[in-house]
Amino acid sequence: MNNIVLIILILLGGGILSYILNKVTPLFAGLTAFAATAVAAVLFFTGLSANDSFEFTLGGMQLSWGINAYSWIFGAMVMAFAFLALLYSMSYMKGKDRLGYFYLNYSLSVMAMMGIIFSRDFISLFIFWEIMTWSSFLIVVYQGLSEGRVGIKYMIFSAIGGYAMLLSIVFMKAEMGSVLISDLIANFGSFSSGNQTMVGILLLITFGVKAAVMPLHVWAPRAYADSPMSYTSVFSGLLSKMGIFGMGIMLVSVFTQSKGFDAVNMYLISSVLAWMGAITGVMATFYAIIQTDAKRLLAYSSIGQLGYIVMGLAIGTKLSVMAALFLAVVHTIFKGTLFLVVGAVERQAGTTDMTKLTALIRRMPLTFVAALMSIIALAGIPPLAGFVGKWMLYESMIVSDHYFLVIMAFLSSTAAFLYSYRFLFGIFLGQEEPETKDVKEAPALMVIPMMLLAGLLFFLGAFPGYLFEPIANGMEYLGMGHIGWNATVLSNGWGDHLDTLAVVNSIVIIFVVVFIFLGLKNRKKTRYVTTKDVHTSGEIPTENENLTYAVDFYKPFERAIDPVMKRKMDFYYNRLGEGLESFFNFLRRIYTGNGQTYAIYVIIFLVILIIFSKQIFI
């Protein structure tokens, strides 16, 4: 049987099986889901070739599935990460109830993502997109309903996105007679100007909702924070990349088909999108800085990083798209790891509130190492992979003369240092407190995926070429022409080189030397101290001296950016929702409940029809 179909069926079957087996014992539920993902991953990495395709007719629609160089990148990401996240999940979810429901929806999400990746036609894409939406909704509400109506907000935005796609699908079918993605690419140039804009904007809305671009992002912070962490890693790491997947196709393949005046239109839309990405990056980063809960901080940070990626895609040069896709993969790795870390902390220490956590570095050293690697990658510091991506992105923006965007990107990157440090300090560093004395390291099943992912970040920082190759192939498939790459050397337009291997080697050597010097050589002279603040040097601190900086960490910064943060987008959406609700209430009163009123409605209807019958019916 066709491997593509097999992968989808295995994931679907795994989900259903784990739901059923949950009645036997909860252990089986996680195990089945994990096993199904493992088998699917193996099949994906070993059994697929570019010629695999699966076509069938369902309900009169021609559906077509296949794999190409571009979708392979995303497929690999999904399969590898889902595998690790499910491994982590087996131990994270221990003791929680309704595991069958959880794993069923988890597997359905993963299956839907693979389906999206395999889709060659828009109807399959829509079907899988909606399955992904409702299965993730069911998990968002897993931890209980919250006051902000998080789940419903998520559903509304995803539905808006999904139905925007459906609107463009029916339009495409009426206009072209086909819903194949390749046909859209081929015929896009021949659409009328208004139609091009309409289809373009509708599909960008669809993918933009998932990629949490402002102003469609309001569902994301709470939805990411309120789901169980083992799912949020997939949610933020993979589901959002489905939006990037679609945007890549739209921006690189479809929009470039416009000619003449329409091309200017499309370029305008892309520029607007790039700016929205930049604004998202800046604003989300600011919001992340003022958070006190680690989960929300990471959620906002996700939105910000996605803003970068969207910006890179929207600019559209070879280097920027390469940078964006590289950053997308790296973001999945480090953001996923960070959410896994937060999950581990939550499980072991009981809370993720950074004003309450301190000094877990001694208690959870391995978790700390994973978090450290991920934060370094997030901030874009060499020698890890994030640096490579950010470097390429900045360079692409400078080379293509988008100076203002560079300024926004720098601003948001620098601000990202603030929350990166806050995250590390708030959870792992600082003074030891008695409440966190008994926290133990996370179980092995949780630590292994985190360390593997951290190691991957290190590896990609040294040898980015291993990621360049599939991305370059993918971009060629999208139509960008041949892109040169090199295993360890980044070169820029001015002829300078950056040998990442040299950077990594030098850092490793320095690290080893210092470690030997401090740790081993001077062992007798070094003394281990507790992580208590020792800066007062024996003097008694006065009342108004701040000894630890857990609460109000960035108060001056908050004061500085307060004017910018006055109104959240969320506020406006809530107002809109309330306005609609009162309108609905008004409409509801048409049904007064009084039988005689209904009788009068009938008579009025009849009278109106008779009076205006000629106008209505002829």
Partner: protein, 499 residues
């Protein structure tokens, strides 16, 4: 005994009147006889559908050999047969569901089954008949049964709902009767095929007036806005299986009669646009009203009205694909709404205050009911991979083909509203904080069976819609081809006239 469409009418009616006699023999027979009748009718449906599909000709039965224009004939074509089959199967499933619903003692049970049988007679009669006055007669039979079933629980709510239904329903009967009378004076026949043939001889002013009367009268039954005030009360304040019956049988018959009048009898093209506009208004207002409902069954009622508005839109668009989508939607709606009412009434039954707020967390005690309800909710909103998705897709494609993109946008926006209020309930059912109530009525075994069958159908059609698209395709063809209808029915009738 030759298998013929007459059985649809004769057997349930006979059973309805004989049930009191059987009750004297054995109380259980009261419950069993309807089941036997419905099972037999389901078998008849399958046989007749096979015949229609194989020969491509409708099965026509002239009753007692009386000649047109006074004789009655029954037409089991691909279209009417499809609807009749759907109704019969749904009635069978509802019978299974209500076999021991609430363990009603024997006397009310007898009344329930008598009325149920009469309702089945009436609904299938409306769909199968080829004579317009006969259709009116069956409308009345259905109406009587429906009014009484609405008020079945002898409490204030039921009586109020029944009264409103009776009030508005009598308008419907009056207007339809008036329209039939006027029509008869113009064309001199009551046979639908002959009316269709002779319609062009009627002067336009008269034609339009008659159409207006028909639209108003039949629109009441088809739950068009603003004629559907009776519907929320009737659905929500009647017993659960009765609500399902209304959704699956009565309203389908109402829409059928409206469609038959507009598509086959009359030849006024403005009527189609009228249907689209009224459908849009119905859809929008009822879905928006549904958002603010706190009573689960009332919410389902508004949703039902909205779906019927959607069906009217699809019929109004009028192309082959649109009619195909409309029929598919009618099928889906009957199945899914049936499932929703069935599971919903158990959820409501176990909540003393009948309020959605108090149903929070009920998913723990009743996992199956909640699962069925959630499945129904996902399906009716039109999410893949469930059945409702395909019907929505086809209708939207048909609208796009007619360049009605604004209509598509309106429908999708309303769908978002639908998603909100259904998913609100589903999330609350599964994950809300449970309130303490000691009420615990387990569903009956029959209830589980019928709900499982319906859920299975939803999943099957969702994953593989080709199972029924063949039938629906033929049904759509038959509906649209007025000439075929006339030529199929009339020779049979004419040969009797010539005899």
């Amino acid at each position: 005994m030759v298998i013929s469409p007459v059985h649809y009418i004769a057997l349930p009616l006979l059973a309805a009147f004989l049930i009191p006699l059987f009750a004297k023999i054995n109380k259980e027979l009261v419950r069993i006889i309807p089941g036997l009748v419905l099972a037999y009718l389901s078998a008849v449906s399958i046989v007749l559908m096979q015949k229609v599909v194989n020969t491509g000709q409708p099965v026509i039965e002239t009753l007692a050999g009386w000649q047109a224009p006074w004789g009655i004939n029954l037409v089991f074509s691909a279209f009417t047969g499809f609807l009749a089959t759907l109704m019969t199967f749904m009635a069978l499933l509802i019978w299974i569901y209500s076999y021991r619903f609430k363990k009603i003692d024997s006397e009310p049970a007898m009344k329930y089954y008598i009325l149920f049988m009469m309702l089945v007679t009436g609904s299938t009669g409306i769909v199968l008949t080829g004579d317009i006055f006969n259709m009116f007669v069956f409308m009345e039979i259905t109406a009587i049964a429906a009014y009484s079933l609405t008020a079945f629980y002898r409490d204030r709510d039921g009586a109020e709902a029944g009264f409103k239904y009776l009030l508005i329903g009598s308008f419907a009967s009056a207007f339809v009767l008036l329209a039939i009378l006027l029509l008869y004076t113009q064309v001199g026949t009551l046979n639908m095929a002959q009316i269709a043939e002779r319609m062009h001889t009627v002067p336009t002013g008269m034609k339009i007036t008659i159409l207006v009367l028909f639209v108003t009268g039949l629109g009441i039954e088809a739950e068009m806005f603003p004629l559907n005030g009776w519907a929320p009360d009737a659905y929500s304040q009647s017993p659960g299986p009765v609500g399902a019956t209304f959704a699956a049988l009565v309203v389908k018959a109402g829409v059928y009669s409206l469609i038959r009048v507009i598509f086959t009898l009359f030849d006024i093209h403005g009527a189609f646009d009228f249907l689209v506009i009224m459908g849009i208004i119905t859809l929008v207002i009822s879905e928006f009203a549904a958002m603010k409902q706190t009573n689960l069954k009332r919410m389902l009622a508004y949703s039902s009205i909205g779906q019927m508005g959607f069906v009217l839109i699809a019929f109004g668009i009028g192309t082959k694909e649109a009619v195909f989508g409309a029929l598919f939607l009618m099928f889906n709606h009957a199945v899914i709404k049936g499932l929703l009412f069935m599971s919903g009434s158990y959820l409501v039954y176990n909540t003393p205050s009948k309020d959605i707020k108090d149903m929070a967390g009920i998913g723990r005690k009743f996992p199956f009911m909640t699962f069925f309800f959630a499945l129904g909710a996902f399906a009716i909103v039109g999410l893949p991979p469930f059945a409702g998705f395909w019907s929505k897709l086809y209708i939207l494609l048909a609208a796009a083909d007619e360049a009605m993109l604004g209509l598509v946008a309106i429908i999708l926006m309303v769908s978002i509203v639908e998603i909100v209020y259904y998913f609100r309930v589903v999330a609350k059912l599964y994950w809300g904080k449970p309130t303490d109530n000691e009420v615990y009525h387990k569903p009956t075994f029959g209830g589980y069976i019928s709900m499982t069958i319906l859920a299975g159908v939803i999943l099957l059609v969702g994953f593989y819609p080709d199972v029924i698209t063949g039938f629906i395709d033929r049904a759509a063809d038959t509906l649209l081809d007025k000439g075929e209808y006339i030529s199929n029915v009339l020779p049979k009738v004419q040969e009797l006239v010539n005899m």
